[in-house]
């Protein structure tokens, strides 16, 4: 499984190097809009959601390394 994960990341990296055209800094106005941010426009709400899923489901991870534990699981 780790091999698959590593290969996926390498593939994306290579894609970034070779298949994606360079976007100049002044062409990034759209990417800078609030609705174009990973994780949504309200990080506080996203944190609530993650906490609910953490307490009701048996898997976690992938949303950053920060965050404390909880006795809810």
């Amino acid at each position: 499984m780790m091999k698959l994960i590593a290969m996926s990341i390498m593939a994306l990296s290579l894609m970034g190097c070779s298949m994606v055209k360079e976007v100049k800094p002044w062409e990034k106005e759209t990417l800078a809009r609030p609705i174009m941010q990973f994780g949504g426009i309200h990080p506080e709400v996203t944190k609530f959601e993650s906490h609910v899923y953490f307490s009701k489901e048996a898997s976690r991870g992938g949303s950053g390394v920060a965050g404390g534990g909880c006795g809810c699981n």
Binding site: M1, M2, L4, I5, A6, S8, I9, L12, S13, M15, G16, C17, V20, K21, E22, V23, K24, P25, W26, E27, K28, E29, T30, L31, A32, R33, P34, I35, M36, Q37, F38, G40, I41, H42, E44, V45, K47, F48, E49, V52, Y53, K56, E57, A58, S59, R60, G61, G62, S63, G64, V65, A66, G67, G68, G69, C70, G71, C72, N73
Partner: protein, 377 residues
């Protein structure tokens, strides 16, 4: 010509400064948010007010802090004696039923994160998280470094790690002595990935993570029935392995559909040595109706397999070392439907309202309402 070059360079510098940083919209702010979470069948209810703030110290540092208080009440289903009515009824007279056990809990949690930016606008995030309940304390430290691999800041790699130390007060329900023991556990979380701008209108992220939990991972409030129907039948605290190693990957993609609609997709794969595998697909659409109003819709699908030591029946476990009937370790699917409104009242104040409906194939349904104000300065 020279003026044009200067103008372009200034535009470049401004754009790099804007796009390079996660502090893109990290104006100084104070936000209050309130969450109301309610499950069906009189199960868990949570009221959680949150206060958060972010403050830029010059252009190289941002400090963020938040505090939340969870007031939790309700009930959660566990195996109980059918003659017991209290929260700790574990007598073995009579039969057993899987029914709600009432509880009440409060939780205070806080976190502080410092973002440090370097000359090339690489970023270092360092943080501390603390969470306290009557029977569970957690403290964690984390650090993550994000490095741009190209001049235009189209690609970045990140690597991070956190360490959490937990203290659990485990009551001895089984002997009825009323004694409690302080147990501990640790959790190490490692994560690394790559982010890539794909075009003027889209970007993607791929991350892999490893989580190692070690120590007391049992839920001291959850029960199993052992040796049902024999002279040795007992209702006893569940027992989980004291180590859990998980691996996973997260793929994210975001793009604009037209001028004012963004779409983002997120897929997460998770696997661990308790035999739990899960897949999560999250889709969100945001529509900026005008400069002041943003509408959001989302759909999340989640599915997991059951832990190797899970069984829901009362006549299943005998003398196995590990046993749990906690339905969160069972095999199930879940859907979340999401809707949100974000309204900018004026240049400084915005209001948000969100509603979510969560439905598991276990029969658990829940609603989540979030509402709050943000003041930027």
């Amino acid at each position: 010509m020279q003026l044009k070059n200067i103008t372009i360079k200034l535009s470049q510098a401004t754009a790099i400064a804007i796009v390079a940083s996660n502090a893109l919209y990290a104006e100084n702010y104070v936000a209050v948010e309130f969450l109301q979470y309610d499950e069906n069948n009189n199960r868990v209810s949570v009221s959680a007010p949150t206060l958060s703030a972010s403050y830029d110290i010059g252009t190289d540092y941002t400090i963020k802090a938040d505090f939340v208080h969870d007031a939790v009440s309700g009930a959660t289903p566990v195996w109980q004696s059918d003659t017991a009515s209290g929260a700790s009824g574990r007598d073995d007279s009579g039969d057993y039923v899987y029914k709600n056990q009432e509880f009440e809990e409060g939780r205070n949690a806080g976190s502080i994160m410092l973002t440090t930016r370097f000359v090339n606008r690489d970023e270092l995030y360092t943080g501390i998280d603390v969470s306290r309940e009557s029977d569970f304390d957690s403290k964690s430290v984390s650090a993550e470094y994000m490095h741009y691999t190209d001049k235009s800041h189209n690609q970045s790699i990140n690597i991070g790690a956190s360490f959490a130390y937990n203290e659990i007060l485990a009551y001895d329900y089984d002997t009825g002595s009323g004694a409690s023991a302080k147990e501990t556990s640790t959790s190490i979380n490692l994560q690394g990935g790559i982010a890539q701008v794909l075009s003027e209108h889209s970007s993607a992220k791929a991350e892999a993570f490893v989580i190692v939990d070690d120590g007391y991972l049992t839920n001291p409030h959850a029960t199993v029935v052992r040796n049902y129907g024999t002279a040795e039948q007992r209702l006893i605290t569940e027992n989980r392995p004291d180590k859990r190693t998980a691996y996973g990957a997260n793929l994210k993609y975001i793009t604009m559909l037209g001028d004012d609609i963004s779409y983002q997709a997120n897929y997460r794969f998770y696997t661990d040595d308790w035999d739990i595998n899960s897949h999560t697909i999250d889709n969100d659409i945001y529509y900026a109706m005008n400069d002041d109003l943003i509408l959001g819709l989302g759909l999340r699908y989640y599915t997991q397999t059951e832990a190797s030591f899970y069984n829901e029946k009362k006549d299943f476990f005998s003398d196995e070392e590990f046993a749990s009937s906690d339905e969160r370790l069972s095999s199930f699917n879940a859907l979340t439907y999401k809707a949100s409104v974000d309204y900018k009242i004026n240049d400084n104040i915005s209001y948000n309202l969100g509603a979510e409906f969560y439905s598991q194939s276990t029969g658990l349904d829940a609603t989540m309402i979030t509402t709050g104000f943000k003041y930027k300065f």
